[in-house]
């Protein structure tokens, strides 16, 4: 097996100190040796191509799995830990004159973006830098195939550079899961095709908690292109874990076959759902989804005008919401189509908070995946003895 080629197996405790930054434990992996920084059991899980968390055997001292590929990777306790940690980090950041924390000093985080996404990339970059990690932005626009280099080659390149975490955005569903099989470090899914975008769901849940004090028991209505939305998938899974009641509202063409098995209710009638909604989350609808028929597919609805009329959140509809209800949008918005400018900029809107909260939540995720067992805002960890660039 491949374990044999990866040098002597190191006990998990030697590399990921469970004891809160004990210098002796952290220093076990000596710089310059070939000792793997990955617990042996992680090597074994890599070949199993598990799309889920990597610590199924429970011996990994980290509070989360090795990767964050899907919102379904998070248990209620883990998700709550992320939100609590984000809250703590946000509080410290706001209180301090210097926003930077030393927590991930010497660690390398790679932003691997195969799709343009300035807002998500910037958010991750800021999060990593506030934790004092070294950040490399590796932009690889276009599919790996058109670029000539395979995803595997890219992964092996990053591996050789000694990255500790790879934040991956890709146009193909599942690409971060593929990546996770080829790198030793953690992989964070920053949006893959029409699959998931788990940190978006976490920041959305964080925002709900901030505005409404809780997530459990909230009635959350998600409106729009559910079929193609990674935001919707991650939100449905996470909100279900956190105990919210989710209703999906969309024209039937923009709901996947099989949605009946999701932990969410489905409605075609926005007006019927709004009066009982605590949260309305509007999803972007892309131009190519609408008529007339495109080259490859068939339009999902007749016109932008009809979509806005039936599913757009305008001022009149927003008035049907309960007083405390909030309006969310993951951005970027199509103003005037799925949401009217008055609503997007109104008092119910959390859109700007979502962006701000994104940084805190991503800090929490990176911290828990990479530094996990040490206090998030505590003392500087001793030199971790990284190989590679650091």
């Amino acid at each position: 097996m491949r374990t044999a080629t990866r040098g002597p197996a190191t006990p998990p405790a030697a590399t990921r100190s469970p004891s809160g930054g004990d210098p002796a434990a952290a220093g076990t992996a000596t710089p310059g040796t070939a000792a793997p920084d990955t617990p042996a059991q992680d090597t074994a899980t890599r070949d199993t191509a598990s799309a889920g968390a990597g610590n199924a055997d429970g011996t990994d001292p980290r509070p989360m799995g090795r990767h964050l590929l899907s919102a379904a990777d998070l248990s209620l306790d883990e998700a709550t830990l992320v939100l609590d940690t984000a809250e703590e980090l946000a509080r410290v950041s706001q209180a301090a004159t210097v926003k930077k924390l030393p927590t991930l000093r010497g660690r390398t985080v790679v932003n691997l973006f195969f799709e343009d996404s300035t807002r998500t990339r910037t958010s991750f970059e800021l999060a990593a830098k506030r934790l004092s990690a070294d950040v490399i932005n590796f932009s690889a626009k276009g599919s790996s195939v058109s670029k000539g280099e395979t995803l595997k080659d890219t992964a092996l390149t990053l591996e050789a550079m000694g990255s500790d975490a790879v934040v991956c955005r890709h146009s193909w569903s599942g690409a971060p899961a593929n990546l996770a099989r080829w790198v030793r470090g953690s992989v964070v899914n920053a949006g893959d095709g029409t699959h998931e975008h788990p940190t978006q769901a976490l920041l959305d849940a964080y925002t709900m908690r901030q505005r409404l004090g809780r997530v459990e028991g909230l009635k959350v209505t998600i409106v729009g292109d559910v079929l193609h939305s990674r935001v919707a998938r991650s939100n449905v899974l996470l909100l279900h874990t956190l105990g919210a009641d989710v209703t999906l509202v969309a024209p039937p063409t923009l709901l996947p076959v099989g949605v009946g098995a999701w932990p969410a209710a489905v409605s075609y009638d926005l007006d019927a759902v709004l009066p009982t909604s605590d949260v309305v989350m509007m999803l972007r609808v892309q131009r190519e989804r609408m008529g007339p028929a495109g080259e490859r597919g068939t339009a999902y609805f007749p016109s932008a005008r009809e979509y806005a009329r039936r599913y757009g959140l305008d001022v009149r509809r927003a008035q049907a919401l309960p007083d405390r209800a909030v309006v969310m949008h993951p951005g970027p918005m199509v103003r005037g189509m799925e949401i009217s400018p008055e609503v997007a900029d109104g008092v119910r809107s959390t859109i700007q908070e979502q962006v701000a909260n994104g940084v805190s939540v991503r800090m929490a995720v990176l911290y828990l995946l990479l530094g996990g067992a040490q206090p998030a805002i505590g003392s500087v960890p001793s030199e971790p003895g990284r190989r590679g660039l650091s």
Binding site: A49, S50, A51, S143, S144, V145, T150, L151, K152, H170, W172, S173, G174, A175, A177, N178, D192, G193, T194, H195, E196, H228, R230, R233, P256, V257, G258, V259, G260, A261, W262, R296, G297, T298
Partner: protein, 442 residues
């Protein structure tokens, strides 16, 4: 030519006998036959079947010799117990002329591991627009009888009707890859609960079933026979059952992977499980097994689809669909059908040898395949150890490619020996390297 005496073998898994193969034919069947000057193979009470015939193999030559060649693909076939395979037409160049099909046929004859029956493309370049010279391919040395644009559907109803009619002149058959293209734009996996969760574009069952329904009606209307490749859904089985109840000349195949695997394997995003048509649900798998058991499904065909490593070590969406299957086909059929008591060995011989040979018209001519185990018949036989089991290791495959979805699985029964017209191509579960070759290699 030397004679072989197969001692203590059980034809169709029934009573043990000795079988003597002389001059390419089965010369004797009986108890305690004298050895004479025959070489002896101790069958150890193994099951003797007619050599298996695959209606659906991708040998990739010409064009993608990095993924498979006729030589490597037919080695895998022989190891899987096959004595004949149909080589699909989607090569590069496409097998849409007599020149290409004769080339593939000669490569098979020269390799000598099993017979290679080229499939001709229905349309030029598989483009689905203009009928290829089907009659010329039929009249060529390759004697093409099966025509298919496999990989693509002949979706134009008018063209399909003409092709069905035209091949009647030479007793040919159109083997349809049933996939309505407008319903499968960008499709990546079975459309259902799993695809909805994974965010992979769905390949709905109706895209297969709608074409099968249409083609059955067309075949009935023009009085032609129709073969449907790799049926994968419960609905397809129902439609075929209905068409057969009308007495229409419709035959269908199922692949081993559709008999065993389900779409939830896609949750790994490992493209080794990407295939077209896609893996379906457990209910579909059960319907396919029932259909194969009751004869609604005529035969098992591998759809052996080797791919180079770089075409599989990719993102799911970028990876090519297809799985290797020649070496694992019998094991999967035993696991899913024989072990649970849903097929007898005699029925296995029907589904994996006689029926596919009949559909491809390989059971006639000077060197027929798929014939029964009887004196005077060609000595195309395979000896199976039904008690053995083996663990699939892609690195051990004779195929040039490694994309088996069964890696790490333990499959029951093992091919011990394969004989092609009395000559062993496989002995002790290993290829027999011979100086033999057909004419052309001297």
């Amino acid at each position: 030519m030397s004679a072989w005496l197969l001692r203590d073998v059980r034809p169709y898994g029934e009573d043990a006998v000795d079988v003597r193969l002389v001059d390419g034919r089965i010369a004797e069947l009986g108890r305690d036959l004298p050895t004479g000057d025959s070489r002896v193979l101790d069958g150890a009470s193994g099951v003797l079947l007619p050599g298996l015939v695959d209606l659906h193999t991708h040998l990739r030559e010409p064009g993608r010799e990095d993924a498979e060649t006729v030589e490597t693909g037919t080695r895998a076939a022989a190891l899987g117990g096959f004595t004949a395979v149909h080589a699909m037409a989607n090569t590069d160049p496409v097998a849409d002329t007599a020149g290409v099909v004769e080339q593939v046929w000669r490569l098979g004859r020269d390799a000598g591991h099993c017979d290679v029956a080229p499939v001709g493309a229905v349309t030029i370049g598989l483009a689905g627009e203009t009928m290829a010279e089907l009659g010329t391919m039929a009249d060529s040395a390759a004697r093409v009888r099966v025509f298919s644009d496999d990989g693509r559907c002949v979706s134009d109803a008018g063209l399909m009707r003409r092709a069905l009619e035209y091949v009647k002149a030479f007793d040919g058959v159109v083997a349809q890859h049933a996939q309505e293209p407008r319903l499968t734009v960008g499709a990546q996996m079975n459309e259902g609960v799993v695809s909805s969760m994974l965010g992979l574009t769905g390949w709905p069952a109706v895209a297969e079933e709608a074409v099968i329904a249409r083609d059955c009606l067309l075949a009935a209307h023009v009085g032609s026979r129709l073969h449907v490749c790799h049926v994968s859904t419960a609905g397809s089985v129902e439609l075929v059952r209905w068409a057969k109840s009308k007495g229409w000349d419709v035959t269908v195949e199922v692949t081993p992977h559709h008999l065993l695997l389900t779409d939830d394997l896609a949750t790994t995003y490992d493209p080794v499980f990407k295939v077209n048509p896609p893996l379906r649900t457990a209910a579909d798998v059960e319907a396919l097994r029932a259909g194969l058991a009751d004869g609604t499904i005529d035969c098992v065909a591998t759809d052996h689809a080797p791919h180079a490593l770089e075409d599989k070590e990719a993102e799911w969406g970028a990876a090519l669909p297809g799985m290797t299957g020649l070496e694992t086909a019998l094991g999967v059929v035993v696991e899913t059908m024989v072990a649970p008591g849903r097929l007898t060995w005699r029925q296995v011989a029907q589904r994996l040898s006689a029926a596919p040979a009949r559909i491809g018209r390989l059971d006639e001519g000077p060197s027929p395949q798929g014939r029964p185990l009887a004196v005077g018949e060609p000595a195309n036989v395979v000896l199976v150890d039904p008690a053995a089991s083996w663990t699939v290791d892609p690195r051990q495959s004779a195929s040039r490619s490694r994309n088996t979805p069964f890696a790490g699985r333990t499959l029951p029964s093992r091919v011990v020996a394969t004989f092609l017209r009395g000559r062993p191509t496989v002995l002790d579960s290993a290829i027999v390297e011979t100086a033999h070759a057909g004419p052309g290699r001297a």
